[in-house]
Symmetry: C2
Amino acid sequence: MTDTTQQAPGRARRAPSMADVAAHAGVSSQTVSRVANGLTNVDDGTRDRVLESMTELGYRPNKAARALRSGRTRSIGITMFTLSSYGNMRTLDAITVQAARAGYSVTVVPVEYPTQRDVAVALDRLREQDVDGLIIVIESHIVDGADVELPVGLPVVVIDSATRTDYPVVDNDQAQGAALATQHLLELGHSGVWHIAGPRTSYSAARREQSWGDTLRAAGITPPPVFRGDWSTASGYEIGLQIAERPEITAVFASNDQMALGLLRALHERGRAVPASISVVGFDDMPESDSFWPPLTTVHQDFDEIGRRAITTLLREIEEGPSLSTQPLTPTRLVVRASTAPPPAR
Amino acid sequence: MTDTTQQAPGRARRAPSMADVAAHAGVSSQTVSRVANGLTNVDDGTRDRVLESMTELGYRPNKAARALRSGRTRSIGITMFTLSSYGNMRTLDAITVQAARAGYSVTVVPVEYPTQRDVAVALDRLREQDVDGLIIVIESHIVDGADVELPVGLPVVVIDSATRTDYPVVDNDQAQGAALATQHLLELGHSGVWHIAGPRTSYSAARREQSWGDTLRAAGITPPPVFRGDWSTASGYEIGLQIAERPEITAVFASNDQMALGLLRALHERGRAVPASISVVGFDDMPESDSFWPPLTTVHQDFDEIGRRAITTLLREIEEGPSLSTQPLTPTRLVVRASTAPPPAR
DNA sequence: ATCGACGATGTTTACGTCAACATCTGCTCG
DNA sequence: CGAGCAGATGTTGACGTAAACATCGTCGAT
């Protein structure tokens, strides 16, 4: 029978405020504030009494009031295209976990279509949320567009992007990964490596493609024309049907695991044995990849690390002001499984 | 030179408030408020002048102040286990998109480990966010636990859960899907259907398992003991190695696509042809499933629809108060591909 | 013993918005 | 031609918190 507040019909009762706790504990609300914020200059006895009252009344600090007063919300915003890509999802997962550990909450605003307008709308929405910082997981060429106005004075970290130099960028080292994949195939003795690239809109795809070409050229090989997919298994499959007909192709580096999977399917259907007749390397290392048939050799990206570093960097910016420290890219590593082998003897 | 505010060094200048706009437009801040909220009792000329000032100063309403004043934040919270399951991810994606369309933002709080303590912490955190409503995507037996105190008076929608009847539940019809899968195998002529179940902690897994058994019994068949996995491809693979050794098993219904994939791999390795020697059906219909080898027959779940209905239901609760309308489950459908066939002739 | 410093606690006020109420203008109607 | 009314606009205060400042008591140094 400690509850003396009124319960409006069908409505939540008003949450207890600092004033309620203060009255209950017989102190001023400022003392409650001090306890709530863990300041040290409070007598132990008083503190205990306040804490007890808090528990009894079920007090929770009101975030809106706190935000209004302090201008800080302890929440960060993140905007990205469809969550339905393996990398984005893993990154988001890592970010929410890390943010929670640091006491921040995460507001997600999706961008439905990769247009400047939609991105602008998303950023606008985020700005209204009064977030303390922003993580943007969007291709830079769209973010850079004229219609997109980045929030002024708001800490920002960019993932999977590049050209803007005024924000810290956190990302996997796409170039290093692609080089790893290409090099692996060359070392197995393949005289050429074909490439299934990602869509033109993707900066990651461009970097992998560039690095694949560079690696070949460094080995004295002229890169063949790329096949271009759109990340989907379906596009990998379509391209795979073409590749299957060309016996001179003995090694393919696909820009993600899903396209590699589509490729594997096409090769199965057309009777090209993997890896006996043709080797395949992917990129991402999805948890499913080790159960593809054959288990896929691929480049592992550490998305947990990306999320961790994005949060670390952003929180440092929020708490210590803008810094211009350049972030090193996170290295990837090659996971060799059963889809690669030396080229068939001729 | 309209900017008279001071720029603190290295800090964002204070965002313009209604008072700033009011001063600029030569009206009272209340009039600005009326314009901002689209009230009609404002002179057209005045309105235009205010809107112009807003644009010029780059005014955005302060969400914290608005929330403090009105008690509504136009944001909803969602908590779920690891985002890294296909279903959770797709659901979250759909929810963020739908929420954005309705003008709500979404705060995601992850639950790192499926313990009551972690769930309680997550809900606590969400309550502090002053969200207007909550979507919980967590197994009900944990939510129901004694340590978990659900927010009082806050609209809640539950996904992938069950036993509590005091909140609306939105979900796919797991039972119907499992029946579809089992029935399909029986109709192909298999005399028994084995099952790779999901973990005991999962309510979805339990429902699929139950329905599989019921369907067999309805056909006069005693269900064999289940194999129990943990949703991962690795567990499917381990179980698959056992199944491969038992020629009497000619039909397997796996509780998700990933375990089905692991199973396929084990069967390949042990030389059991799919579907000639053994048929496999999955559950989920991941976008990759049509490129498994062979392309996987599976049960398609409509996660977009789940997200849509979760938001619709929650917003109705928020805006019109609690309703006790029972939600029909969303039907699933069987997608027949190449991993199922009649049993081998003996 | 006295003064000052410091620690604990209380009081006041501002953050930005919006509901409620107050005021003012111009116009209609008898 | 004045009372009354409607619509436009202004003023005040409250939401819950925390910074800034004020007050009070205690204890140590001289």
